[in-house]
């Protein structure tokens, strides 16, 4: 019977296979997918509010996004995403209509049209050496009716026309060994000062004619001591910096081209301090700010070259640049913290006695500290000055504050997702009935009647709109409880700012967010970074009264030797349950396939000294691990040296302190790739939670091939050392790609294959018994995708039907890598048009549904490609039987069907990763793609064969049934009557 069902299913699948695309209709957009646009942490912001009309703020971010935001609501007017290596160094407005950005270490200057974000011109600035890059758009610097833009980058000073981006003149400083620090423009005499150091104690200044770039004068002076930090310009001819002991302020004055300097001890200005200061980079006219012992100190530079202490600010968090409010009047803002409030103070630079503005704003403490502030003024109706402030917070969110209130906020931390995991929602409690959700029966009926009208095509345009609105804001999909199909889940994402967000899969809203204490800057942890997020406790059978929890692994700095931090978070509420600062480091986290009695998953954290630490630290966990002690292995990939090593748990650590949760590892095997011919480029393993339905692959002639399904497989892609760079840097003869499939328990190489004339970048995905990888073929000048399938030959003789019927086989008995099974592989390669950012494969609850590859293309879209296209058994002319089985005739390239983009018309800008999660419904897989944008949808690779589509008209079904029953009754009565008449006749 099962056979018949299977055959029937195959037949059904065959019917469906005649049409490959799984497109959706226009009115289905937004029903099960959502898309969110973000920017990233704001680095620069420029307001544009002078003109009447739409007020906007232009920002550039750490995700290399240039955007124009609506000042009223914070919506994005336009957004341009530069490449990942195209880091924005400067942002300004020129001519009042162009947004100028300097990026790529000062070598790319672009102008964007202010209203719509179209690129107006781009100019590539050539230089020879790496240097600081400075963008300076001076007001009133004109040459032949053309506004000049001064750009310093790559060791050269360029004057660029703001109309067309043409380089008008260029001055090369790379010959001199001077490190240029500042470029100032003095408006009275059209002079440009280029100031910098040679070494750290020799100060250079060049005077350049702004009109033609002629070098007028160069001057040098030896400073009394070395300098620390950057040079700050207080005015066009005055600079300040700190000496190398950080206790003296050097003030450098360029009156009449002569360099005068004087040094002042900080302790002369501020009594009883001995700390070391840092000059803050805020540009204020005639004033500079110093950070000393977490105290903000404002120091005024008098015209005579003296320093006057102006103000001390406690708990200073951020200082803005000065903004000109009227002729000669400049204002700036600073922010102070006080518990969950911030104090925003705006002062006049030259008048310290009064505040222009003093506001107190309550800010959610989960946003952390203020990192950056940008202010803008506006004229109130009473002709006084009002100020609005754009604040970038520690969690990378962006707030606009005006009149003591947060006008809008953006969660731009979500632009930099580091890792994703999921959690189920709470089970629906009793007492919450369907009627409550659907308001009432009348509403429910009305909804269904509307739907019926739509089905019968008698709906008016108004009705159609109502139906669409009803579908989109269906309360069903955004409920906070678990649903029968498992579509509603929480996506728990860790962002680069160290904040964890829980997003609802139904509508993408933020359910909770928490800024982790362990991932905030502190004395102990200077530059913490979040690494990964893992499931900690996922109660299914036991401990059901406990909420599921996740944990975040972080590190106190970018180096591997920095100590590790752990945070445990309740997945339902977002409460930080526990946080640990660990004594050891973290190189790897290994979730073990064992859970304790409260369903906490056991994890081994392996440090850089190759010691494994067991978590949770309970005797029970030790006991469980002891049982499986001999079966736990660990492998490390050393990509720099081209070595893969295998290890096993050995014994308790024998350090000074007895730690019974710490284990030594012993080396088992190592694979050393010859460094002169191979470099490790990419590795990939199977997902540990992947479910495989069957171990057999049935061939057309009813033969069986047994899949080699082992979780301990590692795919490694190596390239020739010469081909490690970009595409085009190596010739086909000197580049090759070698792929390996390695058993990570025994170190056995199961398969090795060389692709000659090919090179990276390699993207790969490993699932069941196959691996698909994407690389570049230099000979064909095209990208290729290859598939390798691994089959277990040692099981192939299990062919006796009677033995199988009676169960006399060992196909389901546990299987050890040490049994050295004989494997065979099948592989095939195809051309693929796109370059690829990420590949992922759909995963379903039981692994029965056929698979689709999800390919993140270079155009930041996600393409769903049936795995059947990557079947190594494809032949040019498949037989009738093979066709029936669904084998597609072999073509040299993989088809890209426009309808199979699951992101349909949207783009997931800056796509970095794709995550798939199985829903409870076997046919359906949830897909989350992240980058600068977030996108979520659910897909059914073999269509939703196990449920009715959501637009199924139940009302129509009901009416049909009622009509049929009525018809049966009526005809029965009629026939009875007729019978009676017959009898009387």
């Amino acid at each position: 019977m099962a056979m018949a069902i299977r055959a029937f299913l195959m037949f059904v699948l065959f019917l469906f296979s005649t049409q490959f695309c799984f497109s959706l209709y226009e009115d289905q957009v937004g029903l099960m997918d959502w898309h969110q646009q973000y920017l990233g942490k704001v680095k620069h912001a420029v307001f544009h509010t002078q003109k009447t009309g739409r007020k906007r703020v232009l920002v550039s971010t750490e995700e290399n996004v240039v955007a124009s935001l609506d000042l009223r609501h914070g919506e994005i007017f336009w957004r341009q995403i530069l490449g990942t290596n195209d880091i924005v160094d400067g942002l300004d407005i020129a001519l009042g209509k162009y947004v100028i950005t300097l990026s790529s270490d000062g070598s790319m200057l672009r102008a964007w049209n202010l209203p719509d974000g179209q690129m107006v011109w781009e100019s590539s600035l050539q230089g020879s050496k790496l240097s600081k890059s400075i963008l300076n758009v001076p007001k009133n610097l004109k040459a032949d009716k053309d506004d000049l833009i001064l750009v310093f980058g790559q060791g050269c000073l360029h004057a660029v026309s703001s109309i067309d981006g043409e380089v008008l003149w260029k001055k090369d400083f790379s010959g001199q060994s001077i490190e240029v620090q500042q470029i100032t423009h003095s408006p009275h005499n059209d002079l440009i000062y280029v100031a910098g150091y040679v070494g750290s104690s020799k100060f250079y200044v060049y005077q350049i004619n702004a009109k033609n770039g002629e070098l007028l004068k160069d001057n040098t002076a030896a400073l009394p001591s070395g300098t620390y930090g950057e040079l700050l310009s207080v005015s066009s001819d005055m600079f300040v910096t700190l000496d190398d002991t950080r206790s003296k302020i050097l003030l450098i004055n360029l009156k009449n081209g002569e360099i005068n300097y004087n040094d002042n001890h900080i302790s002369d200005l501020i009594k009883d301090t001995s700390g070391q200061g840092v000059i803050l980079p805020s540009r204020l006219p005639g004033i500079f700010a110093l950070n000393l012992d977490s105290l903000g100190i404002l120091i005024k530079v008098t015209n005579e070259g003296g320093l006057v202490l102006v103000e001390k600010i406690n708990n200073a968090a951020a200082l803005s640049d000065a903004v000109s409010i009227s002729d000669g009047q400049h204002a700036f803002a600073f922010v102070q913290h006080e518990e969950n409030k911030i104090h925003l103070t705006v002062k006049d630079v030259h008048n310290w006695n009064s505040d222009l503005l003093k506001e107190r704003i309550v800010i959610d403490h989960q946003r952390g500290n203020v990192e950056k502030i940008f202010i803008n003024n506006y004229v109130r109706t009473d002709r006084s000055n009002g100020f609005r402030a754009l604040i970038a917070m520690e969690d990378h969110s962006l707030l606009l504050v005006q009149q003591g209130e947060i006008v809008w906020s953006r969660e731009d931390g979500l632009a930099s997702v580091v890792d994703v995991t999921t959690s189920d929602l709470p089970v629906e409690k009793e007492g919450v009935s369907v009627a409550k959700v659907e308001q009432n029966l009348f509403e429910w009926l009305k909804g269904h009647i509307l739907k019926l009208k739509g089905t019968l095509m008698i709906a008016s345009p108004g009705d159609v709109a109502a139906i669409q609105a009803m579908r989109l804001r269906s309360s069903e999909k955004s409920k906070m409880t678990r649903d029968h199909n498992g579509f509603r889940k929480l996506l728990i994402v860790l962002t680069r700012a160290g904040k964890v967000f829980a997003l609802h899969t139904g509508d993408g809203r933020i359910v909770w967010s928490v800024l982790l204490r362990t991932l905030r800057k502190s004395e102990a942890c200077e530059r913490p970074i979040g690494l990964n997020i893992y499931q900690w406790q996922d109660p299914h059978h036991h401990a059901l009264d406990e909420n599921p929890s996740v944990f975040v692994v972080g590190r106190c700095g970018p180096s591997l030797a920095a100590p590790a931090v752990l945070s445990f978070i309740d997945a339902y509420t977002g409460r930080e349950l526990n946080s640990l600062s660990l004594a050891h480091t973290v190189a790897q986290v290994m979730p073990l396939p064992y859970t304790d009695s409260t369903e906490q998953r056991l994890h081994l954290i392996i440090d850089v000294n190759q010691q494994a630490y067991l978590y949770p630290k309970t005797p029970e966990a030790i006991h469980i691990l002891q049982h499986e002690f001999a079966n736990v292995y660990w492998y490390s990939v050393d990509a720099d040296n081209g070595i893969i090593r295998g290890h096993a748990l050995n014994s308790r650590c024998n350090g000074e302190v007895v730690d019974e949760y710490c284990f030594d590892l012993r080396d088992l095997w190592s694979i050393v790739f010859p460094s002169e011919s191979e470099r490790i480029l990419a590795t990939m393993t199977r997902k540990s939670n992947e479910v495989v339905h069957t171990q057999a692959k049935v061939m057309t002639n009813q033969d069986v091939m047994y899949k080699y399904i082992s979780k301990n497989l590692l795919f490694v892609a190596n390239v020739a050392p010469k081909a490690i760079g970009e595409i085009g840097t190596a010739t086909p003869e000197e580049s090759w790609l070698v792929i390996y499939i390695i058993d990570t328990v025994t170190g056995r190489i199961l398969h090795r294959m060389t692709h000659h004339g090919c090179q990276g970048p390699v993207q790969a995905v490993f699932s069941e018994n196959w691996v698909v990888y994407h690389y570049f073929n230099l000979r064909a000048h095209r990208y290729e995708m290859s598939v390798v399938e691994v089959y277990d030959q040692s099981r192939a003789d299990n062919k006796d039907v009677w033995k199988l019927v009676l169960g006399k086989h060992n196909l389901t008995s546990p299987f050890s890598s040490y049994s050295r099974p004989e494997v065979i592989t099948k592989s095939q390669s195809y051309y693929f048009t796109h370059s690829v950012k990420a590949i992922e494969v759909t995963s379903t609850a039981k692994g029965i549904t056929s698979k689709q590859l999800l390919i993140g293309t270079i155009g930041d879209q996600v393409l769903a490609l049936d795995k059947r296209f990557l079947d190594p058994r494809r032949t040019l002319n498949p037989s009738q039987a093979e066709k029936e089985e669904g084998i597609i005739p072999l073509t040299d390239s993989l088809p890209i069907i426009a309808q199979s983009y699951i992101t349909h018309s949207l783009k997931v800008e800056g796509l970095r990763g794709i995550v798939t999660v199985p829903a409870k419904l076997e046919s359906t897989s949830l897909v989350f793609a992240y980058g600068v944008d977030l996108f979520f949808t659910r897909i059914a690779p073999s269509r939703t064969y196990d449920s009715l589509t959501e637009d199924f008209s139940y009302a129509l079904l009901l009416i049909t049934i009622v009509a049929l029953v009525a018809a049966i009754f009526v005809t029965w009565v009629l026939s009875e009557r007729k019978d009676l008449q017959e009898k009387w006749r």
């Binding site: 290994m590 292995y633 399904i709």
Partner: protein, 181 residues
């Protein structure tokens, strides 16, 4: 089947009027036999006639039984033709034909006794026809099974039994990779 029905009508009568008087004793009658009438000769004549008649009937029954026994043959040929028409791919038509090909012989075999009941007679040997009938129906059944097999719907291959087996579990567990960064 029409013929069978006709036979049934002939045999299964409820009542009858026999216009030939078979009684031999004249004393039982009130009316004496007419002169010159010899009852004996008539009796003699009558008995041979009925014996002949019975012989003919049983002959006819035997013939009919054989005919009925051979009936599935035609069916078989018909079925074979239909199966050939249906082809070897699994779809609604071929599945329908195959299942009817399986069902007909089975239902016929269930009703073997009933089919041959009308021809039951002490003088008629029904074993032969019955065996033939059974054999032909078994042949039909075999044809159906064969068709089922050609459609690939019989679990005769190892693949049919292996597909439902879950994959073997790994004894060892291994994890690791490139250092987290």
């Amino acid at each position: 089947m029409d013929k069978g029905k006709a036979v049934m009508e002939g045999v299964g009568r409820r009542w009858a009027v026999d216009f030939t008087d078979n009684s031999t004793s004249p004393s039982s009658r009130d009316i004496p036999d007419p002169l010159g009438f010899s009852r004996a000769s008539l009796d003699q004549d009558d008995s041979t006639q009925s014996r002949q008649k019975k012989d003919a009937e049983s002959n006819w029954k035997a013939k009919k039984a054989w005919e009925v026994a051979q009936a599935p043959l035609k069916n078989l040929l018909m079925m074979g033709f239909m199966m050939w028409m249906a082809g070897n791919t699994v779809h609604l038509f071929s599945i329908g034909i195959t299942f009817s090909a399986l069902w007909q012989p089975i239902s016929a075999l269930q009703g073997v006794g009933k089919v041959f009941e009308p021809y039951k007679d002490s003088r008629v040997e029904l074993l032969g026809p019955k065996l033939l009938f059974i054999a032909l129906n078994l042949g039909g059944l075999a044809l159906g099974v064969w068709k089922l097999n050609t459609l690939g719907l019989l679990p005769t291959h190892a693949s049919d039994w292996v597909s439902s087996l879950p994959p073997a579990q790994d004894v060892e567990y291994s994890g690791g990779g490139v250092n987290l960064h």
